[in-house]
């Protein structure tokens, strides 16, 4: 019964199940138990079926219980005296790793379906109309849709990483606790920001919690330490964070050494040059050794150093994993994956990077894309052979009235005579009877107003009826799509499907369409709202009959 190609992850001997001795096997996709001496497994469960495992501590018997989704449970008793607990724990740990993987897979599809139904109300309505009322089965419904959406999902799996706010430390505003204490409110977002920005702190956390300190203690110490505070004067206290401070110093120094990649940016010109006493005439060499600086200068430079370091670390953390992978970070340069720093000095490539980057930057600065000369694409000239077609356009040929030249002469003479004697007589333009007949024609119901009396159909039909009609159309469209996609009928599967779809169509017509028609008839709506739907169904039936008769002829 065991598949030979299955990978066995763990074998535990001397496991009893239902008072029988045997061996427990954990494979890649299932857990199985076989009695002693036999080859076959009597108990085998896929991980996907297991809902939970229970391993009670402190009992006399060392057991492992598996509860399946169906509700039944299986009990394994580890009876090896010496190694029972260890075996049980090993099995438990392995199950702990494997079960979540399979659980996700089973639920993922369901979740996917739920998500799709929730996001698209039209789909949800369609689902209700067709599957819930048993017109078509759920598998057919999902057959086309799931494959489409899986493609979308893989694209959206590359989620964007959430960035880090530079002010996250400042946002932890401590509140006074009443009597000389401070409350710091730490959310998981802030904790994550701290870990991402200061990997040294994360390492300390991993080392100390939960073995040495609890989380609360860790954070209390963090905030108490001078590492966190402004004036980071290394005191030499035995603080778990003093190491972090030293590492930060090293990191900052290496960043300064690496400098900025952009050749057009000259950071050195931003140095503080103060005109000291004498307005520059006293040329005092600016001393950079920290011994000469006053205490105030020292603390100022410390703050500025910390600001710079903090900003650099935030940027580095925000640059993300991509940059990290391409970098060769050596030594204590934890967060050196920023755009401005190149690889460490050992790599030979850094020299080659310099000139092209500089060139590109200079080019960018001096050229504007839209001021370039237009390099038009090569075009083909339009060569018309019958250009008179453009003069008359797509206009149908109308019967031309042919006027003889005599007619023309006569007409022109007539008109010329008439107009030569023309005198506007505006009081006799028309008689009152003609005027009133014209008005009658223009009044509602008159000769010229016939077309306007028909109201638009969407004003006559109530909106709930319209909504129902829309649902009917969507559902009918779905069914008809399934039906028509079966043609041409090549395989026996399609044959069955065609027959099934035809019966589905008939059922839909009976259960949904007829009641709707009766309903609108009762409401005295004279408009034929369902005529088109009926036509579509009739066409489908006709096609089915034609196909059926052809099948019969072929068989006989």
């Amino acid at each position: 019964m065991a598949a030979l190609s299955e990978e066995v992850l763990l074998v535990v001997k001397r496991v009893r199940q239902r008072k029988q001795d045997g061996t427990l096997y954990l494979m890649a996709e299932r857990i199985a138990w076989g009695p002693e001496g036999k080859d076959r497994f009597t108990v085998s469960h896929l991980y996907a079926d297991i809902r939970q495992k229970i391993s009670p501590d402190g009992k006399a018997k060392i057991q492992l219980q598996l509860v399946l989704h169906t509700g039944e449970s299986t009990n394994f008793h580890f009876s090896n005296e010496s190694t029972a607990l260890r075996d049980r724990d090993a099995a438990k740990d392995l199950l702990q790793q494997l079960l979540p993987k399979f659980k996700k897979r089973a639920n993922k599809e369901l979740e996917e379906k739920n998500r799709m139904l929730q996001e698209d109300p039209v789909l949800f309505q369609l689902y209700k109309d067709l599957v819930v009322s048993q017109v078509i089965s759920a598998e057919e419904f999902w057959a086309n849709r799931l494959s489409l959406n899986n493609v979308d999902h893989s694209a959206s799996n590359n989620k964007q990483e959430v960035g880090i706010s530079a002010a996250f430390l400042a946002d932890i505003r401590p509140q006074t606790d009443g009597c000389n204490g401070l409350r710091y409110n730490l959310t998981s977002d802030i904790i994550e920001s701290i870990f991402r920005t200061y990997p040294a702190v994360k390492q300390k956390y991993a080392e100390n919690v939960p073995h040495n300190l609890t989380e609360k203690e860790f954070w209390t110490r963090f905030f108490q330490s001078h590492y966190f505070h402004r004036d980071r004067i290394s005191t030499g206290l035995q603080d778990i964070f003093s190491e972090c401070a030293k590492q930060d110093e090293k990191g900052l120094r290496s960043m300064v050494v690496q400098g900025v990649k952009n050749p057009l940016v000259d950071l050195l010109s931003l140095e503080d040059k103060t005109l000291d006493e004498g307005y520059g005439s006293n040329s005092m060499a600016p001393s950079t050794s920290s011994a000469n600086k006053t205490v105030k200068e020292n603390s100022n430079s410390a703050i500025i150093k910390r600001f710079n370091h903090h900003s650099a670390m935030v940027l580095a953390a925000g640059a993300g994993k991509k940059a990290c992978l391409t970098m060769k970070c050596a030594g204590p340069n934890w967060g050196c994956a920023s755009e401005t720093s190149s690889t460490d000095g050992n790599s030979r490539d850094s020299d080659f990077f310099q000139p092209p980057v500089k060139k590109v930057k200079i080019q960018e600065a001096i050229e504007y894309e839209d001021l370039h000369m237009e390099n038009g694409k090569k075009t083909v000239a339009l060569n018309l052979k019958k250009s008179d077609r453009y003069s008359h356009g797509p206009v149908p040929l109308l019967p031309q009235q042919y006027t003889t030249s005599q007619d023309i002469i006569n007409s022109v003479n007539c008109i010329q005579q008439e107009i030569a004697n023309y005198k506007p007589c505006l009081t006799q333009v028309m008689s009152s009877s003609t005027a009133s007949s014209a008005i009658a024609a223009l009044s509602p119901g008159g000769l010229l107003m016939q077309a306007g009396s028909q109201q638009a159909i969407n004003q006559m039909v109530p909106s709930d009826v319209q909504g129902e009609l829309k649902h009917l159309y969507t559902a009918a469209g779905e069914l008809l799509r399934h039906f028509w996609s079966c043609f041409p009928v090549n395989t026996p599967f399609l044959e069955e499907k065609v027959v099934k779809m035809k019966s589905n169509l008939e059922r839909f017509q009976m259960t949904k369409l007829r009641p709707f028609q009766e309903k609108i008839q009762r409401q005295y709506l004279s408009t034929n709202l369902t005529g088109h739907l009926e036509d579509m169904f009739q066409m489908a039936y006709n096609k089915f009959h034609a196909w059926q008769t052809r099948q019969m002829l072929r068989k006989t």
Binding site: H392, G393, Q416
Partner: protein, 303 residues
């Protein structure tokens, strides 16, 4: 009625089809409605428009088969100038001077226009597209000459007598789209037979198309339907829009078709597929569907 603001100018340009051949034949067909009567009705319409509001402006263009001529305003006027040597032939009935002057000018101009008509056999179609183009240019000029702060709303009313000329199709369509871009309405009052081009013009620009059953009541139709401007029309019950047949005619047979083939190079329309477009001589290939072969195979064993 919506009161136009003080500074809103409403310009109406009436394009009258005075094709002498059609009107000459019309004089024989229906002697009680001749060009004179038509011009009277147009004058009534023009006067009414000028009288509606002080800010209204008017222009009348006569569309002849040899030219398009402005009947009003008088070409030699300069804006604002009085006409010094105008003989005071104002009618003694105390009419508003502007109207009497306008009527006189119109009558004078039409006489001049008709007297210089030459008989030419090959020019029998009304130059309607050209007149519309002139109307658009006039509107554009007036718009440019407005004082600061004034707004203008313009529309064109076409009174059409003779039949459509198919050769003017391209020009016509260009005029229609130019009017649409400038938000100029084109209304059409058709006396004789339906004109597809004018139906399209009215549909595209948002104007009204009307074919009147009684020619002698032309003035009444003009005043009832075409005198209100577009703002007021929304509040009146007017004839509903006509269903326009936008079907194109194929270039090979000039039949109206609903589904056809279009050359992607020159955009000419054909009813059947042909491997070479006859207008621009581009060669086309359509791949045959592969289904055809499979079907053939299937039928063989059963027969």
């Amino acid at each position: 009625m919506v009161m136009a603001s003080e500074d809103e100018v409403s310009l109406l340009v009436i394009v009258v089809d005075v094709n002498p051949i059609w009107w000459g034949q019309q004089a024989n067909r229906e002697p009680q409605f001749t060009l004179s009567k038509c011009l009277d009705a147009v004058m009534v319409m023009g006067n009414s428009h000028l009288v509606m509001t002080r800010n209204n402006k008017l222009a009348i263009i006569a569309s002849h088969c040899q030219e398009s001529h402005f009947l009003y305003p008088f070409k030699l006027w300069k804006s604002g100038d009085g006409h010094g040597d105008d003989n005071p032939s104002t009618s003694g009935d105390g009419k508003y001077e502007l109207l009497s002057v306008a009527n006189d000018i119109m009558a004078e101009e039409i006489k001049i226009l008709m007297s210089r008509t030459e008989v030419k056999g090959n020019q029998t179609d009304t130059l309607l597209a050209g007149s519309l183009a002139k109307a658009l240019c006039y509107i554009h000029r007036v718009t440019k000459e407005l004082e600061a702060g004034q707004e203008i709303k313009s529309r064109i009313l076409v009174i059409k007598a003779a039949d459509d000329c198919a050769l003017q199709y391209m020009n016509f369509m260009n005029v229609i789209f130019a009017a649409q871009k400038q938000s100029i309405l084109i209304d059409a009052c058709v006396l004789d037979s339906d004109s597809g081009l004018l139906q399209q013009a009215c549909d595209i620009t948002g104007g009204l198309y009307l074919m009147i059953p009684q020619k002698i009541a032309l003035a009444q139709y003009l005043l009832w339907v075409f005198l209100p401007d577009s703002d007021q029309r929304s509040q009146l019950v007017l004839p509903p829009p006509v269903h326009v047949d936008y079907r194109a005619a194929c270039f090979c047979h000039r039949n109206l078709i609903e589904i056809g083939y279009v050359c992607s190079v020159c955009l000419s329309i054909f009813c059947n597929f042909s491997p070479i477009c006859t207008t621009c001589e581009t060669a086309f290939k359509i791949p045959l569907p592969q289904m055809v072969k499979a079907k053939k195979k299937k039928l063989k064993p059963s027969t």
